[in-house]
Amino acid sequence: MKNNSKKYIGKISLIFLLAALCTSMAKAQEEKERFFQKYKFVNQTEFGGLFGRIKYQVYYGGWYPYPVPFGPTYPTYPTQYKVSNKVNISAQTFNGVYIDKKTAAGLTIGVDGYGETVLMPIALGIRRSIVQKKEGGSSLMGGIDVGYSTAWLNVDDTGFKTNGGLLISPTIGYRLPMRNGSAWLINFGYRFQRADYIQERQGDIYWVESKEVRKHKRLVFRLGIEF
């Protein structure tokens, strides 16, 4: 009985909430319009690449991925590193509003691939015009995105789990306006991305667990448009 009444209270309050929303909808629409009149909306959608290197330990000429603890009679081998260059794709869209004449603030959502891993950053972004020689002309823009990357788009192998992490990405680039009010964007910057890759213990048969902390440090180069 008590539970039932609770349920009813929940339902009734939900109906009230909906009603309240409906009545405020029209008002909200008005407010929204006023908001966007005051603060101009801006979207910047960009595609590009993440350029960097990986440097990792290899054993016995690289054919064996991890060290074997041989007995005392065997020699220990010195650690060897292997280096390779990596380019991965990155796409993102920034949706924000101009909070003053030069500065826009908003939300950045993107998709970054790092080999087998796909991360989806959700970040707060700021874009600011640093140098503009003449009104309505090209400008030098600075930008920064700080946020968290989720692993929602990632699919893991059995027994493994990828977690996203902190994203910090400052950029600098050009904004080249077109006649119709849109603009081309060329951005160049840095991207720091943290992620974890965890292997859980799988019972007694494969007695192994591992945790990898990944810090991707990349140069980023992006092209895009703004409207």
């Binding site: 720091f192 192994v208 990944r214």
Partner: protein, 430 residues
């Protein structure tokens, strides 16, 4: 004005670079823990001098079990034997530890215990279990062996034995950030490999005065002969003179020999690929009669009333096979015939105390069946939430069961409701 812009630019760039430590190399570090093997070398002298009677020790890393009268001998793999006084099954008492390097199997006749110690066969006088004495030794009879998934090798030329330890390693390494995911390949580690002792059919001990081993045993005594199976040979010892066995012959059996089980005047030898039946009328010279082949699997065998019960288990070293119980008619030993198969979960050791059949299902627990009708074996009780690996029926409705967590003893007077008499726990290894 211009100066101001440049300053801002510098600040932004500098800030960005500082955050990334100015590096464009991914930095990925993996901390991993895995189990691996570390080889070590023992000299023959060390092994031979390593035998010692010691005070009782906590059970650890259970191996095979052998029962003789009121004493239970529990093998701690390659370390030694725990001796348990089981005169009161409700309160078994750990009374002594016999240190035997490299011991995997054992058998008892009268007051003499036969155990392997890497390459040698050693005999002990156990008339006073608290004060066991070594009485004899047959040198250099085994060349290699397998226990717990680890093989050891004996090199007679250098008088050395190479064995491996299982070691757990935690390490940090710098990895390639998952660009090609390299998973560490751990050594395969299955309890199936632990070669727990096995079950025993309803037959009385195969020779008077001997104890009880199991369906997974590699040592068995028949009349005046001790049969031992190594990885691919059947080695015979004449034990007429109890204290000093004499090696008589060696029969090559091919690859993957696992268990030996004597029944009447026959020897049932379980291998990875099938069940060999040897005629043992002349104990000094067993003759191969037939082979019942099956899919590659681990397959302990027990026999009762001319019916052989074989469990097949899949996974790892056992190969890919269905998990099932095969019931085989062996009344005509030259032509064993499959009567019926039953689905199982992950069967390991089994025991028959006709008409009751007990099957260990590994992590799924212990099952008690009514096997009075071959075509309709009925489940009577399922004790889950325990790890059951092998069982030995001790007679008098008394069942000994080994699992990962210890040695259980059950009263089976009511096969539908087994009563736990006692549990000797195992020291947690990890």
């Amino acid at each position: 004005m211009k100066n101001n812009y440049l300053k801002r630019l510098a600040v932004i760039l500098g800030f960005g670079m500082a955050l990334g430590n100015i590096s464009c190399t991914d930095d990925c570090e993996t901390t991993r823990t895995y189990r691996t093997t570390v080889p070590f070398v023992l000299s023959v002298q060390e092994i031979r001098e390593g035998i010692a009677a010691q005070a009782p020790q906590e059970l650890n890393n259970l191996g095979k079990i052998y029962v003789k009268d009121n004493y239970i001998f529990i093998n701690e793999l390659k370390k030694g034997l725990h001796i348990i006084d089981n005169s009161n099954p409700q309160k078994p008492e750990n009374i002594a530890f016999l240190k035997v390097p490299g011991v995997i199997d054992m058998a008892v006749k009268d007051h003499i215990l036969y155990a392997d110690s890497y390459m040698d066969m050693v005999t002990f006088d156990i008339s006073d279990p608290k004060n066991i004495k070594q009485t004899g030794r047959v040198k250099d009879v085994f060349l290699n062996g397998l226990a717990d998934g680890i093989t050891w090798q004996y090199q007679p030329q250098s008088q050395q034995v190479t064995d491996s330890d299982v070691k757990i390693i935690t390490e940090k390494i710098r990895t390639n950030c998952g660009f090609s995911i390299v998973n560490p390949t751990p050594i395969y580690y299955d309890l199936a490999y632990q070669n727990f002792s096995g079950s025993k059919g309803p037959t009385s001990p195969s020779a008077s005065g001997t104890g009880q081993g199991g369906s997974m045993a590699r040592f068995t005594i028949y009349n005046d002969y001790l049969y031992t199976v190594s990885m691919n040979d059947l080695v015979l010892f004449n034990i007429k003179s109890l204290t000093q066995p004499v090696q008589e012959s060696k029969v090559n059996l091919g690859w993957g020999i696992e268990t030996i089980f004597p029944y009447k005047d026959k020897l049932f030898i379980g291998s990875n690929t099938g069940m060999y039946i040897f005629d043992n009328k002349n104990p000094a010279k067993p003759e191969l009669m037939s082979m019942f082949a099956h899919a590659r699997a681990c397959d302990p065998v027990v026999v009762a009333n001319d019916i052989a019960y074989v469990t097949l288990r899949s996974g790892g070293p056992c190969g890919v096979a269905p998990n099932r119980l095969d019931v085989v008619d062996v009344s005509s030993l030259a032509f064993p015939r499959l009567l019926k198969s039953y689905e199982m979960q992950n069967p390991a050791g089994l025991a028959i105390d006709f008409p009751n059949l007990f099957i260990c299902e590994g992590q799924y627990g212990l099952k008690s069946f009514d096997a009075s009708s071959v075509s309709d074996i009925k489940l009577q009780q399922h004790i889950d939430k325990i790890n059951a690996f092998d069982v030995i029926p001790l007679g008098n409705k008394h069942l000994l069961m080994v699992g990962k967590d210890g040695l259980y003893q059950y009263d089976t007077s009511n096969p539908k409701d087994l009563k736990l008499l006692s549990l000797i726990p195992v020291k947690k290894a990890y």
